[in-house]
């Protein structure tokens, strides 16, 4: 249970969907490892495959999803791709859990929140009703829900968005998972509540010594709260580095463009935003080379020759043959 133990090892995860127009490669060869106590931020714009990646790890994909045999998801030394649905069910909750984006829809509207937490405790940990209720109140206290002994009998509609997300987190951590995936946990919340929820998640990871994957489209969220960051584009990780390194020493032009597109308080008023021109590539017929090449200011003819590998020195990986900061590196 020491720090540094590898909780999750994803190897060449590929997830495609059979659609009317053809095979859509939503996740296209993603590999990474995650250690206990660490938080990996996964950043990318809509459609970059972040959420599909999280569902691929949990093995919660819809029926039209196709995962080739070479993909491996190894959680605590167990290869999830080789487990039966029944075996997976035993792991979901006690070993891995997920917090969804919208707490409005991820809680059952007709069951009291206490009931929803107790369900999980009674099912996975075999607790009796009374003990489960006591534990549910403890969990609600732990996630900072005010008046937990009253709230436990309330229904989701009686709670605010932030409170609901706290409940969703309480459910997710109820069985002390080793891996917590937070899939845009603050996107549906008020800005004022966002920081509280992120702080809470961070505290839970620290206190319970879990590993967390924090999926977001917000670079600001990643900056303060993650150990490592993986930037996703068109279903691939295009840059992965310790958070400090990624911001200080950005190598991948896409990451740089993402960072540049964030407006700064110090900018003069009425300044045009640095939006990234063009659109993300068609994932059914992806470009032959670097998927970002058509939008990249630094791209040249070589960029269209084959997909660049994700590689780099000293834990700072990037998938680019014309990286930024080349001069300083050389």
């Amino acid at each position: 249970m020491h720090m540094g133990e590898i909780i999750l090892d994803v190897r060449d995860q590929r997830t495609s969907f059979a659609t009317a127009r053809g095979m859509l490669a939503a996740v296209d060869g993603v590999s990474f490892t995650l250690q206990r106590g660490r938080t990996l931020g996964v950043v990318g714009e809509s459609g970059s495959g972040k959420s599909v990646l999280s569902r691929s790890i949990m093995r919660l994909l819809p029926g039209n999803a196709v995962v080739p045999g070479g993909s491996r998801v190894i959680l605590n030394g167990r290869d999830l791709t080789r487990l039966s649905e029944a075996e997976l069910r035993r792991l979901r909750g006690p070993e891995m859990a997920i917090v969804f984006q919208d707490p409005m829809t991820s809680l059952n509207p007709v069951l009291s929140i206490g009931r929803q937490i107790m369900e999980v405790l009674m099912f996975h940990l075999g607790m009796k009703k009374r003990a489960a209720r006591a534990r549910a109140i403890e969990l609600l206290t732990a996630v900072g829900l005010p008046q937990p002994d009253v709230r436990v009998d309330q229904y989701p509609h009686q709670l605010s968005g932030g409170m609901r997300q706290r409940v969703a987190i309480a459910i997710a951590i109820a069985c002390e998972p080793d891996l917590l995936i937070a899939d845009e946990p603050t996107t549906a919340l008020d800005v004022t509540v966002q920081a509280e929820i992120l702080d809470l998640l961070q505290r839970m990871v620290r206190e319970r010594n879990m590993a967390m994957i924090l999926i977001t489209h917000d670079m600001g969220v990643v900056a303060g709260r993650c150990d490592d960051v993986a930037v996703m584009y068109a279903g691939r990780i295009v840059e992965q580095a310790p958070v400090r390194d990624l911001f200080r020493n950005t190598r991948m032009p896409y990451t740089a463009a993402l960072l540049a597109s964030i407006p700064k308080v110090t900018d003069p008023p009425h300044r045009k935003l640095d939006a990234i021109d063009g659109r993300p590539p068609d994932l059914i017929n992806p470009p032959p080379g670097c998927p970002f090449a058509p939008r990249c200011k630094l791209a040249d003819a070589d960029c269209d020759q084959g997909k660049p590998m994700l590689e780099g020195p000293a834990g700072h990986l990037f998938a680019c043959i014309r990286p930024l900061g080349q001069e300083t590196a050389a």
Binding site: R89, L91, I98, F100, D102, T105, L107, L111, V120
Partner: protein, 303 residues
């Protein structure tokens, strides 16, 4: 909220008599939630009928098949408050005992139908795909068989057993119940809380039972409320035709059928059971409507 009303009061106090807006709001809310006489009067009748039927042996009524040779086809007399029928059997006793049959069928048939329809609808709506196709085809095939044929078949094969009357009627309710369940299940099966439950290790059966079922119970209750009076009427019609429970056992339709033979001379024999059945069915409809309206409020508002 209290702040808003109190500040409004402050401006009104000079010229108008002070009205506590909170009390008005509470009173209005209470009024809107009242069930009203259209609910309570029929409800009281149903309670009377139910208590009378359920505790039939305790009222000191003469047995429903005991013949009083002194009074045959008699109008109401001492000892026979509603008179006697063609064979001199006490009419009140027969109506009370007959009510047991009617109410049993009225409640059992919809529950059997909704119970089986619920299972089919849940499977079809949750799994979709081939399960949905197969169940859909089965339901269509079942609907192609006329209901009366099913009822006749059961009555011929099982010869008037009360249980089989309930089952045969229940079978007729399956298609609608299954379709209602399927539609409601489709609505909820794709919701994120189902995925969230799955992400916490819930099995399909568990999700159907614990996550989806509590959400779809309201349309099913409304459906049962509609079906109870329908089942009572159909059972009445079957008894009238002699296709329900066998002859010595009284049932409302059966008593009416017996009274029909002497309708011109002794109309009271057919009239009393008809009246009781009419008022009971009407009451079920009124109570059902009131509850369904209330459920609609609940679904729009609180939940």
């Amino acid at each position: 909220m209290a702040d808003v009303t109190s500040s409004r009061q402050g401006t009104q106090t000079e010229d108008k008599p002070q009205i506590d807006m909170n009390m008005v709001a509470i009173a209005m809310h209470r009024r809107s939630r009242r069930l009203g006489l259209y609910f309570w009067i029929p409800m009281i009748w149903l309670v009377i009928v139910a208590v009378a039927c359920i505790f039939a042996p305790f009222w000191g009524l003469p047995p429903a098949d005991e013949i009083d040779w002194v009074y045959i086809q008699s109008p109401p007399v001492e000892g026979h408050p509603l008179g006697t029928d063609n064979l001199g059997r006490d009419l009140l006793s027969r109506i009370v005992w007959g009510g047991r049959v009617s109410l049993t069928v009225g409640f059992a048939a919809p529950f059997i139908g909704v119970g089986l329809g619920l299972i089919l609808g849940l499977i079809a709506g949750y799994y979709r795909g081939w399960a949905d196709e197969v169940i859909g085809i089965l339901i269509d095939a079942w609907l192609a068989i006329p209901g009366l044929v099913v009822l006749l078949l059961f009555s011929v094969v099982f010869g008037g057993s009360l249980f089989m009357v309930c089952v045969s009627l229940g079978l007729l309710f399956i298609p609608t119940a299954a379709r209602i369940t399927r539609a409601a299940t489709l609505n909820y099966a794709g919701r994120e809380f189902v995925l969230a439950a799955k992400a916490m290790g819930a099995s399909d059966f568990r999700i159907m039972r614990k996550e989806i079922f509590p959400n779809i119970i309201w349309p099913l209750i409304a459906f049962i409320l509609i079906d109870i009076p329908i089942a009572i009427v159909i059972e009445g019609a079957l008894s009238f035709l002699g296709l329900s429970v066998k002859a010595p056992t009284p049932s409302w339709g059966g008593i009416i059928a017996e009274g029909r033979e002497v309708l011109s001379t002794y109309p009271h024999i057919a009239m009393y059971p008809t009246l009781v059945m009419f008022v009971t069915v009407l009451s079920f409809n009124l109570v059902g409507d009131a509850i369904r309206r209330r459920l609609a409020d609940v679904r729009e508002g609180a939940i």
